[in-house]
Amino acid sequence: MNNQQPLLATKEVCKTYRTADRAGRLVLDHIDFALKEGEIVAILGKSGSGKSTFLRVLAGLTPQTAGSVTYRGTPVVAPVRGVAMVFQTFALFPWLTVLGNVELGLEAQGVPRDERRTRAIAAIDLIGLDGYESAYPKELSGGMRQRVGFARALVVNPDVLLLDEPFSALDVLTAETLRGDFADLWTARRVPTKGVVFVSHNIEEAVEMSDRVIVFSSDPGRIRAELPVPLARPRDHGTAAFRQIVDEVYTQITTQPGREPGKRGTPTQAIGIAYRLLPASIQQLMALLDTLMAAPFGGRADLPHLAQELSLSADDLFPLIETLQLMGLAQVGGGDIEATAAGRALAEADMLKRKQLFAEHLLRTVPLIAHIRRVLDERPGHTAPSARFLSELEDHLSEEDAREVFETVVNWARYAELFAYDYDSGVLSLENP
């Protein structure tokens, strides 16, 4: 740690994706980052905050649009030796056995066959896969597959390990075991790895694993906050110190950009037609609101508590919270959420009344919905092709995002009975079938 040079560092890294009008959508905005020797850094953010893209830029898999990435002082332009990655989807070659998969990186480096075998078997033993050498990935459970992913990364003796949501495809119990095993290897210094960058959407997982949590804001991805985690390992989720850090992270993530954390009551910020709405399900929105209003919360709740009560992960929770905020149904601050008067009224209404109120809020707070409704009202036949609105969205968003936003809007409007959409013909209309 006395070595001053960081293992991996970025300076003012920007990444832009091209959109239809060539203006480009900024996903990463001037990111300065350094990974020091001996630390695990977790990167947290809502989906769409560019955290996975950032990891790929660090890995040399995706070129940055501007800025520089360096590994021990030398620029990263392609995947470098010394940096290995573990993938969310495991990314194992299905036609290779466990041993073959683990040997892959060594083979590409030109390590002689016997040495390859010895080292691979050692890595397999280390990660607790002994006995599975000749199995094919499809014979293994998810947890075992990800162990192969770790063995494949560790066998090349990487300096830096990049973990791209490595536990999120696993069930809770399996994830916990694997996380624990990896933490043990790390604390016991049984792996040569000197630094880890770890992307996650699970706040508790990030706090448990890392020495430092970096929170990304969305659209564009920026570093919003950096929180040190000075707790001794192994860490207990129940301790007050742990809970406090988790609370802080929640506060940071849910604070709207440009506002002081901890202050509540700021009015909903105005958004444009092409605002990247998050795909929140109506069912979940209502369930969240109901839970918030019910005991023990009674209209106001601590976010980590609420997440636990609803058994939602952060990735599922944040789109809901943002949507509630956007529609003026709830306010968030200091890691707490509180229902507004409008939110309370909605929660108390019966099914028909809910739809009616929801429609009013949508028209008032979501410009895209108001826009579509206006166009449909003005047109003589009260119909319009979806392509029209999609192309408007694509001026500002990528094709994929535009489609997602459109689907979200259709979903909400269908519930609120604001307009109808015919999937087959792609036509929006005011008719109610």
Partner: protein, 579 residues
């Protein structure tokens, strides 16, 4: 680490010891080498055009003829494999090459197979003057054209479909482009490729008769082979000889099936990304032999060691260094546009050239006539596909909803699809003659004979994949009869049906050349259609007319595919996919 030495991976001395399987393996290998040596010697005997090669109807000659044919098909398959790997790789890797290669492939696919033969044969003969090899090459090329295109398309699509995370893993662990081609892209493509190779092979068998009869400048050359045997038997009206030929072909298809495709299928299972379901645990004795016999193990071990040595030598000669990415070239979009323009000009020029070539010889009136002929064939194909669907969809559904029957039926249908339908030609022609049937209608049946199985096969697969839950729901709510078909079965099997019907329709078009003209003894039956037109002028080597016929047929197939099948396919993919 000491206890590790008990693992099978390092226990090679045991593995390499001769065992029971070697008793089977060694004779097979030696036999195979002998056959290849003999056949290649036979292929290059001196020959000049016009010389008559004696074909005998003696059934004892059939094994020899069969081996010659099988050799041709095997060579064509290997050539197709090499071609499709190179072509698909180029199309998948380079955006600019893709713009040229994929439309060209689309057109090549719609050109009738025999069109290639009549247009290219002179070139091959000029390549090997005074030897039979030129004619052999032409025949092999004809078979190649019936195999290569769909293999290439399948490879191209697989290459594009390689999952992003696997690509990233390959880059992250520093696999070279060459290594990742062989270790990632090709393995990923293998299951689909093997399946398409089987389909290609059936296509090849179908055209075997036509490909072994080569006409250059009014001189007929019939290469010794099972196809020539059938042709001669039909010409002489020898029904017994046709029977022998059917038996021989059956045997050869079985051998190919056992020695090549069963093992390939079983082996390709491991390359499937998703968990194994259908055909799980499928064993092929030949594959087992390859995997167990000490002889092959030894060869594999030697190969492995040599490959390892070379790859390490290459690494040592060229030490590792980071390859910088090239900065994006600002001119790229302009070069792209220029490239598209060049291609467009080239295409326009080609169309003009074909038109002027044809128009110089043939009047506009005949071009119109040929258009009408193509229309006749078009009607025939449409009606036949509809008829085949009406017959095979219910049967396929019935089989597919009964998994035990389906699993037994599938290999049989596969086999039927591989079985060359032209063997049924003599009986059909005989029937037409005996009962004085309408030639226009009953000759059409021959077109669909070989390709209808694709409909049946795909419908069975589709019905088999239909979740049982849906059937329970239908049963629970008393959905029966017509409603059951309309709401459950037809939408459920639609994507699979479309896939089958596309293949069947393409096959039928291709078969029109062979099936609109049929001969039995001295009787020749000709139906009205573009196929008969091409076949007739191929007989006299009238190049402009062949080109016209082939171009017209290709145009029809292309238009039909674009306007109808591709749309149906997109619809099925978007709307009715179950997952």
């Amino acid at each position: 680490m000491a206890q590790r030495w008990g693992l099978p991976v390092v226990a090679w001395p045991m593995r390499l010891r001769p065992n029971f399987w070697d008793l089977v393996a060694l004779p097979l290998v030696i036999g195979l080498i002998a056959v290849i040596a003999w056949a290649s010697q036979q292929m290059s005997v001196p020959y000049t055009g016009g010389q008559q090669i004696e074909i005998s109807l003696d059934p004892w000659k059939l094994p020899e003829y069969g081996l010659r044919t099988v050799m041709r098909m095997g060579i064509a398959l290997v050539v197709s494999l090499i071609f499709s790997l190179a072509y698909a790789a180029a199309a998948a890797k380079s955006r600019r090459a893709e713009k040229l290669l994929i439309p060209v492939l689309d057109i090549l696919q719609s050109v009738p197979i025999l069109g290639f033969l009549s247009i290219t044969v002179t070139g091959f003969i000029a390549l090997f003057p005074g030897s039979l090899l030129g004619y052999e090459c032409a025949a092999i090329f004809a078979i190649f054209t019936s195999q290569a295109w769909n293999m290439t398309f399948s490879l191209y699509q697989s290459f594009l479909g390689v999952p992003q995370d696997l690509r990233e893993a390959a880059r992250m662990y520093h696999m070279s482009p060459w290594a990742s081609f062989w270790q990632l892209e090709v393995p990923y493509a293998i299951p689909q490729l093997v399946w398409n190779m089987m389909m290609s092979m059936s296509g090849g068998w179908f055209f075997v008769v036509a490909s072994e009869a080569i006409t250059v400048a009014d001189q007929n050359t019939t290469l010794p082979g099972i196809g020539s045997y059938i042709a001669l038997a039909s010409k002489e009206g020898d029904i017994k000889a046709v029977g022998y030929a059917i038996l021989a072909m059956l045997a050869f298809i079985l051998i190919y099936d056992q020695l090549l495709f069963r093992p390939l299928l079983a082996w390709s299972q491991r390359f499937k990304v998703e968990a194994i379901t259908e055909g799980e645990g499928e064993r092929a004795w030949f594959l087992t032999m390859l995997q167990r016999a000490g002889f092959f193990q030894l060869i594999a071990w030697i190969g492995d060691t040599v490959a390892d040595f070379f790859s390490r030598a290459a690494k040592a000669a060229q030490p590792y260094q980071e390859k910088p990415q090239k900065p994006p070239n600002p001119l790229t979009p302009w070069i792209d546009r220029a490239w598209v323009a060049v291609l467009a000009v080239l295409a326009i020029y080609l169309v003009y050239w074909i038109f002027s070539f044809v128009e110089g010889e043939i009047g506009l009136a005949e071009i119109g006539h040929v258009f009408l002929l193509a229309l006749a064939t078009f009607c025939r194909v449409t009606v036949l596909i509809a008829l085949a669907s009406i017959i095979w969809v219910p049967i396929g559904v019935w089989i597919g909803l009964r998994p035990p029957i389906a699993h037994r039926a599938q290999p049989i249908v596969q086999f039927l699809a591989a079985f060359p339908a032209n063997l049924f030609f003599p009986p059909v022609v005989l029937a037409i003659k005996t009962f004085h049937l309408n030639v226009e209608i009953w000759l059409s049946v021959l077109m669909i004979l070989g390709t209808q199985w694709y409909i049946l096969f795909n419908v069975i697969a589709g019905a088999l994949a239909l979740p049982t839950d849906y059937q329970y729901v239908a049963g629970n709510f008393g959905v029966t009869r017509w409603l059951w078909w309309r709401r459950l079965i037809l939408p459920g099997i639609f994507p699979a049906y479309v896939t089958g019907a596309i293949t069947a329709s393409g096959g039928a078009w291709n078969a029109s050349i062979v099936s609109e003209v049929a001969q039995w003894g001295d009787d020749k039956f000709v139906a009205t259609g573009i196929g008969a037109y091409i076949a007739e002028w191929t007989g006299t080597s009238d190049t402009p007319r062949i080109v016209l016929g082939v171009a017209m047929l290709s145009l029809f197939v292309l238009t039909f595919n674009r306007l109808f099948w591709r749309r149906l396919y997109t619809l099925a993919e978007e709307r009715l996919r179950l997952d």
